[in-house]
């Protein structure tokens, strides 16, 4: 038993050691959590500093002339009801700042002893897009926020040219063809256009070459599920005064369909499988708006369509969503918006002397497909956007489609296309930039192109 003497001390020391290890472990876990919380606090504040930097830079970019420089702004936020001055540095983004702006900005912050600044932000322009990279720092935590957006707020900022075609523009041989208003293209040349050699300058307002603008399409809505109302062959003076789904709706020659749109904030919705407009008219009554959702659009016995929809009315009141394979707008007089989802075939606008007369917006959807040579919109006849007493204005917005202007077709408005060709030596039409009467009709494309993209 002698050798077991003092064992209690050993056991106690073991217990002490266990308790100490337990205590240390608990403390380590808790301290780790406290450190995590502390890091979270710093990182959260750093994020909001970075966002603040982006906000400051956005406002700065709208007031200062950035030209082709990268402006770096840095400083600390003011307190409430206080003023603060930020310092700035201007870098040439054609030089070493041309690529890898983020790395350059972080190096700039370290080299210039700006590590204690809450905000270091770089802002520059690439085409129409403003780009911002903002570093926010709280204690030893730094967060990065990036922002890019087009600051467009009006139709004039989005559709600011008579014609923009990312791809090739080919001008016909006729001296009578002209484009009045600026032309933009991502290409370096325009086929068959040389203002120094041509007898007449066909684009007197000039061309902006190598202009890469990404025009986006507004979302095409899904067709609403409405009460079925069978088919309707309109007799004269017939009125529709409720939303509904029609398997077919025929408005024959000299017949008029009235659609009661209700009160000012009402949107009358009508879904139609086949809308046959053969020289008939659709007239709006009430003060509301009309949305037509159409799966097939044609004359009674032909693929073409002729007639009137909201003729001489306010264009912002009518939108025709057409989910069709192809469309032949032979002679349609309309004030409103026509949005053709993604036609697999051609879209023809106008034919013969009458032409199609649309005041408003024509959107043709689709995606860029170099193998599809049917992505074509043809304008023909005297006018696709006609000139009667006052010019009716149309914006043809088809950033992924080839537009062919044939005959003497003319656009008073603007065209956005993938490519544009004016075929035939005898064409005498052209494009005249004119969108000031369209007002909020162009809102869908303004909204979708006034984009904001945040990232970290």
């Amino acid at each position: 038993m002698k050798r077991k003497k003092g064992i209690i001390l050993g056991v106690t020391l073991m217990m002490f050691l266990t308790i100490a290890v337990l205590g240390t472990t608990i403390m380590a876990i808790v301290m780790s959590k406290a450190r995590q919380t502390n890091d979270l606090e710093k990182r959260t504040q750093a994020y909001f500093f970075a966002r603040s930097g982006a906000e400051i830079a956005r406002q700065y970019s709208s007031k200062a002339d950035l030209a082709d420089k990268i402006h770096i702004l840095y400083g600390n936020l003011p307190g409430a009801n206080e003023d603060a001055s930020f310092s700035f540095s201007i870098q040439d983004n054609t030089g070493e700042w041309k690529t890898g702006v983020r790395e350059k900005l972080e190096a700039f912050r370290k080299q210039d002893g700006l590590a204690d600044k809450e905000i270091v932000v770089a802002v520059w322009k690439e085409g129409q897009t403003t780009k911002i990279l903002s570093l926010g720092t709280a204690a030893d935590a730094t967060r990065v926020v990036s922002f890019e957006g087009t600051s467009a707020t009006s139709a004039e900022q989005v559709i600011n040219m008579a014609l923009y075609a990312a791809g090739m523009i080919t001008i016909g041989n006729s001296d009578n063809y002209s484009i009045i208003g600026k032309v933009g293209t991502a290409e370096g040349t325009i086929v068959n256009y040389d203002p120094d050699k041509d007898k007449v300058d066909k684009i007197p307002d000039g061309v902006v070459y190598n202009l890469d603008v990404e025009y986006k399409l507004p979302p095409f809505p899904s067709f609403p599920d409405l009460t079925s109302r069978g088919s309707l062959n309109v007799q004269n003076n017939q009125t529709i005064s409720a939303d509904g789904y029609y398997t077919s709706l025929t408005v024959g020659n000299n017949k008029t369909l009235y659609i009661d749109t209700g009160g000012k904030d009402t949107v009358r919705k009508i879904v139609i499988d086949t809308l046959a407009l053969s020289g008939g008219s659709i007239v709006l009554t009430g003060e509301g708006e009309l949305e037509l959702y159409v799966r097939d659009l044609k004359e009674k016995n032909s693929s073409a369509i002729s007639g009137n929809i909201n003729e001489n009315g306010t264009p912002g009141r009518v939108t025709l969503y057409a989910s069709v394979n192809s469309l032949d707008l032979t002679s349609l007089d309309m004030a409103g918006t026509v949005y053709i989802e993604n036609p697999t075939g051609e879209v023809n606008i106008g034919s013969g002397n009458e032409g199609t007369v649309i005041q408003g917006l024509i959107i043709v959807g689709g995606v860029d497909d170099p193998n599809n040579n049917k992505d074509i919109i043809k304008t023909a006849g005297n006018a696709s956007s006609g000139y009667i007493e006052e010019p009716l204005q149309t914006v043809l917005y088809a950033p992924h489609r080839i537009v062919e202007m044939k005959g003497g077709s003319s656009f008073y408005g603007a065209i956005v296309a993938k490519e544009l060709t004016t075929s035939g030596g005898g064409s005498s039409g052209g494009i005249v930039y004119m969108i000031d009467d369209l007002g909020d009709t162009l809102d869908p494309i303004v909204e979708v192109n006034a984009s904001e993209l945040w990232g970290e």
């Binding site: 919380t37 909001f48 400051i56 406002q59 307190g79 003023d83």
Partner: protein, 110 residues
């Protein structure tokens, strides 16, 4: 009546050899008490720190959410840079017992 005492040859009767000494037990008890008290202290502090951390983290989440949503009006503040005066709102969202998150925003619509 005579008392009979059983004697084992393996266990000598020496007092020092039987059980633990009083001093040993005392020292052991002292060590255990000190370590348990220290552990309890650790535990209390740890629980308090843990609780505070959790509260701060939760508060921080709410506070940053308020800034994200834009629920806070904020006070006017101005930043001047390169001659350009940028007016905006300084939003402060308090959290924890005395801390706050700060963000500068442009006036809406600009």
């Amino acid at each position: 009546m005579a008392m009979i005492r059983r004697v084992s040859p393996e266990l000598p009767l020496s007092g020092r050899a039987r059980g633990f000494s009083f001093v040993e037990v005392l020292i052991a008890l002292l060590i255990i008490i000190i370590s348990v008290v220290a552990l309890l202290n650790f535990l209390t502090t740890s629980l308090r720190v843990n609780d505070t951390s959790s509260k701060i983290a939760g508060d921080l989440l709410v506070s940053s959410g308020e800034l994200e949503i834009g629920d806070i009006n904020g006070e006017t503040a101005t930043v001047t840079v390169n001659g350009v005066k940028i007016s905006g709102k300084l939003r402060e969202s308090p959290y924890g017992s005395s801390k706050k998150l700060v963000e500068f925003v442009r006036p809406s619509g600009d």
